[in-house]
């Protein structure tokens, strides 16, 4: 898949079909990948595709001007389609290189499985359904399913829905919704004051770095409501009250646009389980309005549209 990508990317740049290639390169820390955005042919050799490509690159088309050749996984492609629905990106300005995705490795989970910091691993290879971790003098085999992100268990669209070039063969969906929603269901079973206490505790940790906002493809407002100072909705210092209100409003802003890529939670430096909020909204929007993010390119964004038959049993 990687070779195919390099070949296609090189061709696209050479033929001038795209101005930039947006893909994955190796990160500065071992086994982590970081976005690689380039217009130089010699950088193409650094492109990678491996089980660690976590970033959602559909963040970039709204920020980079020019034609892009962009590498997307299943969830990223839905973010991209959602941006098309909102008229934020133009389909003709992109050449989409689709990566059929078997799940992305959660570095934290992998560390727990091998019982060591993953920096100590020499090499990690995927062989069939297992991940072979070469350590100093030892070798560990970890089932791949045990180390992928929670979101990947519930992935209904592992193969990108929108692409120009598919870099591999299609992957069939692995639907284990229960496993993916386990955290949320457990949380829902606790009583209301307990739930409130939980979020209060979580958001007391928040340092308001806005990583969740900056990494989210659905957060495309030119001026975020937290940056508005007339009126100032949210104070700039981090009190848990303001942190929580900020995140709740952000959750509502991206509701119906969230493809459950899980980047908010992954990027959070203090480990707030943000996906529990976002994923909950994905479920609600699907249940209430039968809308799934980025599945249908021609569908209306969910909150710019309405039906006469929308649920209203809660309105008195």
């Amino acid at each position: 898949m990687e070779n195919r990508l390099k070949e296609e990317a090189r061709k696209l740049l050479k033929e001038g079909k795209v101005d930039y290639i947006v893909g994955y390169g190796n990160g500065t820390v071992k086994f982590r990948t970081s976005p690689l955005i380039t217009n130089k042919e010699e950088d193409i050799e650094s492109l990678v595709i491996n089980p660690f490509i976590a970033n959602n690159l559909s963040r970039y088309p709204t920020e980079i001007k020019g034609k892009l050749g962009i590498v997307v996984k299943g969830c990223d492609s839905r973010s991209l389609v959602s941006l098309m629905q909102d008229n934020k990106v133009n389909r003709d300005d992109m050449v989409i290189l689709g990566v059929p995705c078997e799940g992305v490795v959660d570095i934290k989970k992998l560390g727990e499985q091998i019982g060591a910091d993953i920096d100590q691993a020499k090499e990690i290879d995927k062989e069939g359904d297992n991940l072979i971790v070469q350590m100093d003098g030892s070798k560990k085999t970890v089932p791949f399913r045990d180390v992928i992100f929670d979101k990947c268990f519930g992935c209904e669209y592992p193969t990108p829905l929108e692409y120009d070039i598919l870099l591999g063969s299609e992957v069939s969906p692995r639907i284990e919704i229960e496993k993916s929603l386990k955290k949320i269901k457990e949380f829902e079973d606790t009583d209301a004051p307990e739930r409130w206490r939980y979020w209060k505790e979580q958001f007391s940790k928040c340092i308001r770095c806005y990583a969740c906002r900056n990494v989210c493809p659905a957060c495309f407002c030119e001026r975020c409501f937290v940056d508005v100072n007339i009126p100032q909705w949210i104070t700039t210092y981090g009190s848990w009250q303001d942190n929580l209100v900020f995140q709740l409003i952000r959750t509502l802003h991206v509701a119906g646009r969230c493809s459950d890529c899980g980047e908010c939670e992954r990027s959070c430096p203090v480990g707030i389980p943000l996906r529990s909020l976002q994923r909950k909204m994905v479920e609600e929007v699907k249940g209430l309005f039968n809308h799934e993010t980025g599945v249908d390119k021609d569908a209306f964004p969910v909150f710019t549209h309405y039906e006469a038959t929308d649920p209203e049993e809660f309105i008195k």
């Binding site: 829902e188 929580l244 409003i249 509502l252 909204m281 609600e284 909150f303 006469a308 649920p311 309105i315």
Partner: protein, 145 residues
């Protein structure tokens, strides 16, 4: 000092074209409804940002009532339809994070529905009274403070 009895303090966001006129009718028909509500007039229920609701709760109000025209009656054709979608998810999210559902209520009240307005406010205030004062956004008071 004699302890004063707690009374709920709630805000009502009423749309100018229906609910506000409805509340007006309630008054001019001399119907009584709880004085616990403070009414803010907005152009349309579609004007209500979920932010208003959260900020009201954050600033210590005990409840938020949002009221607009019946579906199909919107002065701006579709404002309340959009509002309806927005409120449906807002409600779910607030409940999910642990805010009592009684604190936030939505209703449709037309300009001619004076008695309904009184009824809605009465029921809403009673509901808020049951769940008690809003301490959600209060910091816990530490010993010695």
């Amino acid at each position: 000092m004699e302890e004063t009895k707690w009374e709920p303090k709630v805000v009502g966001f009423l749309c100018h074209w229906c609910s506000y006129a409805g509340a007006d009718l309630t008054g001019s028909a001399r119907m009584e409804y709880p004085h616990n509500i403070r009414i803010i007039r907005v152009p349309c229920s579609g004007r209500i940002d979920p932010m208003f609701i959260l900020r009201a709760l954050q600033n210590g109000l005990d409840g938020v009532l949002v009221s607009g025209c019946h579906p199909g009656d919107c002065h701006y054709q579709s404002g309340n339809f959009h509002a309806r979608r927005k409120f449906a998810v807002t409600r779910k999210l607030l409940e999910y994070v642990g805010i009592e559902p009684e604190r936030v209520q939505f209703s449709w009240v037309a300009a001619s529905e004076g008695p309904k307005m009184a009824q809605v406010v009465k029921e809403f205030v009673e509901g808020v009274r049951k769940v008690g004062p809003n301490r959600l956004f209060k910091d816990e008071i530490r010993d010695g403070e």
